[in-house]
Symmetry: C2
Subunit: 162 residues, 2 copies
């Protein structure tokens, strides 16, 4: 049985780091420095503004996501999330389940929309998944991501109302 | 004679705050909390990632802007800026001069493009100015800004290569 639950800061750190570290080090999908230390990666994922959840299958963490306000002030009604799935759990609907959970949680917190600021266009699986969940590409940032193997590629801004 | 020069952190604080505070308190153009204290506003404008400049006319500060990387990692080649002009100096080309300065400075620092993430659509003067300086609207964020008088209005993502 998989449940999506709030991350327990200390107890889940090792499992979350095991998911987050390879993704950030590869640097193919997140516009985040590729040389962060373990502590810096955890500080990033558990930033004060982030509400962090994990996908927990009988004690095994298969994925994690954070939810935050994308902007402050006049932009505080739009949410933002980042999702990561453990390599061994790819293709099993974990990211979809986390995104659905996040849409529900964001609405519960009073957000009116969700925005992804920088979906790397070469991350086709993610683009298709977000589209299948109602997100639209509302902007294309030309050459805005320096991919380690593909060079400069476009990123998308994706958006959906809640 | 107006020159655009790096801000001197302590000496320019009062003049910068006199420009920044009313803009943030009005909350019509920046997606930033409207209730920041003076210290919080200065901390925001002088964030560690910000390179801050002022437009200085014979000792009178008419405007200020910051330059930063819009993202880290694979997005670190795209710059971002925020500009503010003193109310008494509106319509005199100060914002245009600061933007031109920032484009030059960003190129000098090795950035390959500049992106504005959240240009409030009701800020027509800014939209037109950025367009006249080569920026294109590459995305529209529907209802992404809660304007204090107009309600939910669109924001634009604007982008230009350097």
């Amino acid at each position: 049985m998989m449940q999506i639950r709030p991350a327990a800061a200390a107890a889940d750190h090792a499992a979350i780091l095991a998911i987050v570290a390879p993704v950030l080090r590869a640097g193919e999908t997140y516009a985040v420095a590729r040389d962060l230390t373990d502590d810096q990666m955890l500080s990033y994922w558990f930033a004060p503004s982030h509400e962090v959840f994990v996908a927990d299958a009988d004690g095994t963490i298969l994925g994690t996501y954070y939810l935050m306000a994308n902007q402050a002030g006049g932009g505080a009604h739009v949410a933002n999330c980042g999702y990561m799935t453990a390599p061994a759990a790819q293709g099993k609907g974990i990211a979809r389940a986390m995104c659905l959970h996040s849409l529900h949680r964001a609405a519960e917190r009073g957000f009116r929309a969700m925005q992804f600021n920088h979906v790397v266009s070469t991350n086709g699986r993610a683009v298709a998944l977000w589209q299948s969940l109602g997100f639209e590409i509302v902007g294309t940032l030309p050459g805005a991501f320096a991919h380690p193997t593909h060079g400069f590629v476009d990123s998308y801004v994706m958006f959906r109302a809640l």
